[in-house]
């Protein structure tokens, strides 16, 4: 328990140093802290310990953070990956259930929501509100009561409470996106000249934009208005290529493209990633490329899909993250998201096609689920 408390304090202190790029001393501290967290998780998280032992990667054998074994996200569907007693979890986030049924949903037990907030809120502010704007948050997502185990919903709720100005509201209920009400809110923002922040899934934005397009409707949101969109294929069904989505956000809502920020998060991780564009814009720079920024308490590597060894910069591979804020579960996560590493972050290229663990790769999964 003492170790745990000390580590928790150390991780909080490290995250508390801020979102700005870390210096060399910070990097050394990261390495040391990551190895300590690894030793803690190895000791306290039994399925993870076994996973590491089978690979010969015990705390004694691991000298660098890069050597810490990363657990593929599917493991969260097979076992409880938590340090300590599951009864003590403050919340259990679950991956969206599809045809496979609830028993196949991944579960991320979070024991300490304050750690989650310590990571999520400053990172959001740095990338979505770098200008210190106080905006009504129009959330194209459900309330926490409607979707209590969605990590995205939970995060948006905290963001709204921490930063949302008067007029913040949710626009999704059981029947879906309430387009008419949302349009009213947008029109009100336009006529009052008061900028807003729109937050939601790419699919929800696609829905909104298609509805506007169908009626030839255009809104010119006041300068300073912005969008945070997240997940394409991953979080909801319908897909629109990112370029097309942003083109329509510019055309239909009158936004600047630099004010359209993609967020990338996952149920199994307490920390998130955001596009660099708005933050750089607020510093008076002209972003030359769009990439995801890795917060200082996270490391992201792009690894070869076949060997899981690190890829050189510029080559397509699978993203592997190490997140100190995942103190209570597993810090190192092997995803099936594709990306390309660059000097200042990584470019997210979507989910590796065919990689959803659904029991099989051919159409027979349909009859299997039908027979269940």
């Amino acid at each position: 328990m003492e170790t745990q408390d000390a580590l928790r304090a150390a991780v909080l202190e490290y995250i508390g140093r801020g979102v700005e790029a870390a210096d060399a001393a910070d990097a050394d501290d990261f390495e040391r802290l990551a190895l300590e967290v690894f030793a803690y998780q190895f000791a306290e998280n039994e399925p993870y310990r076994k996973y590491c032992e089978r690979r010969g990667r015990t705390p004694d054998a691991v000298a660098r953070w890069t050597e810490i074994p990363a657990v593929p996200t599917a493991a969260f569907k097979a076992a409880l990956l938590l340090c300590g007693d599951p009864q003590e979890a403050e919340i259990v986030f679950r991956t969206s259930g599809t045809t496979a049924g609830p028993e196949r949903r991944g579960a991320h037990h979070v024991r300490d929501l304050s750690l989650y907030e310590a990571s999520a809120l400053p990172n959001f502010r740095a990338h979505m509100l770098p200008d210190g704007a106080q905006l009504p948050m129009l959330i194209l997502g459900p309330t926490l009561e409607t979707a209590p185990d969605s990590s995205l919903t939970w995060m948006l709720e905290r963001v709204r409470r921490a930063f949302g100005a008067d007029g913040s509201a949710h626009f999704v209920d059981e029947s879906g996106l309430r387009v008419a009400e949302l349009e009213q809110a947008l029109a009100a923002s336009e006529s009052a000249g008061k900028p807003v922040a729109l937050l939601g899934t790419a699919a929800a934005f696609a829905h909104l934009l298609e509805a506007l397009e169908a009626r030839g409707r255009r809104v010119r949101l006041p300068a300073g208005s912005r969008v945070m969109e997240t997940g394409g294929s991953k979080r909801l069904g319908r897909e629109m290529p990112r370029d097309e989505l942003y083109g329509m956000l510019v055309e239909r809502l009158g936004l600047s493209e630099f004010y359209c920020v993609a967020e990338y998060g996952m149920t199994e991780m307490c920390s998130q990633f955001y596009d660099n564009v708005l933050r750089e814009r607020a510093r008076g720079q002209s972003p030359v490329s769009r990439h995801k920024v890795v917060p200082p308490w996270v490391r992201t590597q792009v690894v070869d899909a076949e060997t899981l060894e690190p890829c050189p910069d510029g080559r397509l591979g699978l993203l592997k993250h190490l997140d100190l804020a995942n103190l209570d579960s597993v810090m190192a996560i092997q995803t099936d998201d594709l990306g390309i590493a660059g000097p200042e972050g990584f470019e997210l290229m979507g989910r590796a096609e065919g990689a959803e663990l659904r029991g099989c790769s051919i159409a027979i999964d349909q009859w299997l689920s039908a027979q269940r």
Partner: protein, 475 residues
């Protein structure tokens, strides 16, 4: 790597190509597009519904004029000689295929070599002769009216035009399909799949070198599956449609077949293997594991004959866990000898995810250490689970195989090949039960990958399913 010159992924017969310009009269433009997992540049004609209808009508006329009159023994002879060009080392076409198919399909060169040679065994004149005889009694029934034991006469007629919709998973199935149609004297149009659009074209080219008249009754080309305007023409001009593919594809094609057109569908199938405890002796276990490894490794498990799960009965001299270990050793050896194909990042990622899922839920995982080249998952379970393919096999340890059989009942309609290892009496009784459940082929472990030329593909006749009998009653 040097850029390859685009290959012609089509075969259009002489005369039906029209005289002026390569395809001038028919108005066919040739487009280049990247096809197959290897994204190889391929040249593809662009059909309009009109030009396609003309081509198909031309093929049908040719078929009626040429095929009806040719003795089947001649046709079979030409097929055999032509097919040998695709399957015999040293032949230019065989070498061209070895140079092309690995990059196009992602399969290793060795896999393609083995595949062509093994599948070629079913395309020889002798094999075809005996397979036709097995279904019709003799070849004569397709040449002329033959007397019936009950009196009168009958004769078998193939469809004037068969349209084939190929799948891209296993190179060679397309050739078998065209061969079957030719053997019942049907003209054919083969619509290839993006995954493997080339082998059927090479077969037509080989046939043209051997027997131009026969090759004149064939056309092969590609368009993106689901192109409804073209497919509406193809399905309405055809007398029979033979389609291979996923349940989804088959369902989609099936909905668009006119009621009077014969539809022969080969949807998704799965295979399993059963190993009885009496088969798990110290003498046999390693050999069985090597056989099972071949069944799994051949065409990287992409075939309808490939096993997804192996049920091994506990209580024999060799424990199922040890059998699984031997299986892993055999797969590791095969990974060197017959390398697995190239994976997409998604395919590799899926295998890593699946391994982790299995491991964390408590199963034992043996796996290749270089990457994802092979994976054996063993656990106590009787539940059938489809494999993500690419040499991922689950060994289910069961106390009694009857547990497996009862679980397999729900898989029954999709079950095809079951590889069985056991004593003779066990195999007989298992085959009877498997047959009742829905399996259509029971073979020894190690023989799953290569059906004989005489097999009942998905339990059906290869040739009889295509024909129409004409009864002739006389005074």
């Amino acid at each position: 790597m040097a850029q390859r010159a685009a290959l012609d992924a089509f075969w259009l017969p002489e005369g039906l190509r029209r005289a002026s310009g390569p395809f001038g009269d028919a108005g066919l433009e040739i487009q280049e597009r990247a096809l197959g997992p290897g994204h190889l540049p391929m040249r593809i004609p662009t059909f309009s519904p009109h030009t396609l209808r003309e081509l198909l009508a031309g093929l049908r006329e040719r078929g009626s004029a040429v095929l009806t009159e040719r003795p089947l023994v001649e046709i079979v002879g030409s097929i055999g000689t032509a097919a040998a060009r695709l399957t015999s080392p040293g032949e230019p076409l065989y070498e061209e295929l070895l140079d092309t198919l690995p990059e196009l399909t992602g399969y290793s060169r060795r896999m393609i070599e083995i595949g062509l040679q093994r599948m070629g065994a079913g395309w020889t004149a002798q094999a075809l002769h005996s397979a036709i005889e097995e279904e019709f009694g003799s070849l004569d029934l397709l040449d002329d009216f033959q007397s019936r034991p009950s009196g009168g006469y009958h004769r078998a007629f193939g469809p004037p035009l068969t349209v084939h919709v190929f799948s891209g998973n296993i190179p060679g199935i397309s050739v078998s399909s065209l061969v079957r149609a030719l053997c019942v004297k049907s003209a054919s149009f083969g619509k290839t799949a993006a995954g493997e659009p080339y082998l059927a074209v090479c077969f037509a080219r080989a046939l043209a070198e051997e027997d131009a008249e026969l090759a004149g009754c064939l056309a092969v080309s590609y368009w993106p599956g689901g192109s409804e305007d073209l497919e509406a023409v193809a399905f309405s001009e055809a007398s029979a449609v033979v389609a291979y593919g996923s349940d989804e594809t088959i369902g989609d094609v099936g909905r668009r077949i006119p009621p009077a057109t014969r539809f022969i569908a080969y949807p998704n199938r799965v295979g399993v293997a059963l190993v009885t405890r009496r088969a798990l002796t110290a003498e046999r276990a390693r050999q069985l594991a090597r056989g099972a490894a071949l069944d799994v490794a051949t065409f990287d498990q992409q075939g309808c004959v490939s096993p997804h799960t192996i049920y091994a009965e506990a209580g024999g001299a060799v424990d199922p866990l040890d059998f699984a270990r031997y299986l892993g050793e055999a797969l590791d050896e095969l990974a060197q000898r017959i390398p697995r194909g190239v994976m997409s990042p998604g395919e590799s990622a899926l295998i890593h995810q699946l391994r982790a899922h299995a491991e964390v839920r408590g199963a034992t995982v043996f796996a290749g250490e270089r990457g994802t080249e092979w994976t054996v998952i063993i656990e106590e379970s009787a539940e059938f689970e489809p494999s993500p393919l690419n040499r991922v096999i689950r060994v289910c340890c069961v106390a009694d195989l009857s547990e497996a059989l009862s679980r397999l009942e729900k898989v029954g309609p999709h079950l095809q090949t079951v590889a069985v290892a056991g004593e003779t009496d066990e195999v007989r009784s298992l085959a009877a039960r498997l047959g009742a459940i829905g399996a259509t082929r029971v073979v020894p472990v190690g023989e799953a990958a290569w059906p004989t030329p005489h097999w009942h593909h998905d339990g059906r006749f290869q040739f009889l399913d295509l024909v129409r009998f004409v009864d002739l009653e006389t005074d």
